[in-house]
Symmetry: C2
């Protein structure tokens, strides 16, 4: 995934000569804590935050350029960078938004922490059921009931709790991937559990074929 | 995972009678765009953002209580809520931080979008190699070389690209789970690929045992 796929192309901009009071009203109206400062060519020349604006208002500053950070001080990404660069930047520097530039260094978007949260969390929200459906489809010659039966057996072996195939089916229908990796103790453990189920189901299929 | 595991217990607070100028300086010094307003008992009674502060300063307001949002207007979570509730709230309402309450409705923490990004992205950053190591350990009687060989075969079948076991090993060493699910086209497809590899490796193990 690239930065341009998670960036917001709708963003507010301010000019360096813009009146600070006007800029503060603009931030409030659009409920943005930050805004890029651009010149007439849409080139990024600075960055302001609502905190810079409060300081500027307190200290009697007049223009955006009086309070803005220079581009050297701020983190930016390019639209064709891998999205994970923006994610790592937001995480490491605790940023609420990051300006996105094109190859000519023109401002083309903004990546926001809330958009990153939305993108990242969609993986966690995938229903475990969907993974099992894909697994059943992949394992030719194994039907859904057999898969649930094997899953219940593996769960009983691993956790010692009495779980029937029906219980298991109900459980995965209502749980998300995020919950599943949390319950099993991590991504690798979750996958290993699935592999164990796959192994058992294949062994049972072979045993059946031999009969 | 619970909210209390991802919340920040270090946070700034402001009082309703606090001078607005002082509150604005406090936000700037701690580089926070938001702050909870609490009474003397540490009970949450409101919320301010840097944008409310800029408006207050412009309009000549004097106290925090003049600009704060009431608790009815703001989203909060409880410390024992599942962490995903905070994640969904941050994503849906585009929040940069969310106050966390205990059972007595006292303020005990703040969940920040950047912390959520950090927590969520750690899953994406897991090396694919780790998943394969766990898989090799689970599949008794299958060694690493056999697993890489089967992985290369499955990849060749599915993508039509010539990949050797060595190529495959190198590839998974350098790629993350996030990249892998992006490359394969989603979580289910990534997992189905693993199951196909598991299936092949088991079939080869059985064939070998019969010889």
């Amino acid at each position: 995934m690239k930065v341009k796929e998670i960036m917001d192309q709708k963003f507010i901009i301010v000019g360096p000569d813009e009146d600070l009071l006007q800029a503060s009203i603009k931030l409030e109206e659009h409920r943005k804590f930050t805004a890029p400062v651009v010149n007439k060519d849409k080139k990024l020349i600075g960055w302001i935050t609502a905190l810079d604006v409060t300081r500027g208002l307190r200290e009697g500053q007049k223009k955006v350029s009086d309070i803005m950070h220079s581009t050297e001080e701020i983190v930016h990404v390019h639209q064709n960078d891998p999205a994970r660069l923006a994610v790592l930047a937001a995480s490491q520097h605790k940023l609420v938004s990051i300006p996105v530039l094109d190859d000519a260094n023109m401002l083309v978007g903004v990546v926001r922490a809330s958009d990153i949260v939305k993108t990242l969390s969609s993986l966690y929200e995938i229903k475990v059921d969907k993974i099992f459906r894909a697994m059943a489809e992949e394992l030719k010659g194994v039907n859904w009931a057999e898969l649930m039966e094997a899953s219940a057996i593996v769960t009983r072996r691993r956790t010692g709790t009495m779980v029937t195939a029906k219980d298991y089916e109900k459980r995965i229908k209502n749980s998300t991937f995020g919950e599943a990796i949390w319950t099993t103790g991590g991504l690798e453990k979750f996958f290993v559990g699935l592999i164990a189920i796959g192994e058992l189901v294949i062994a049972r299929r072979i045993a059946k074929a031999r009969k």
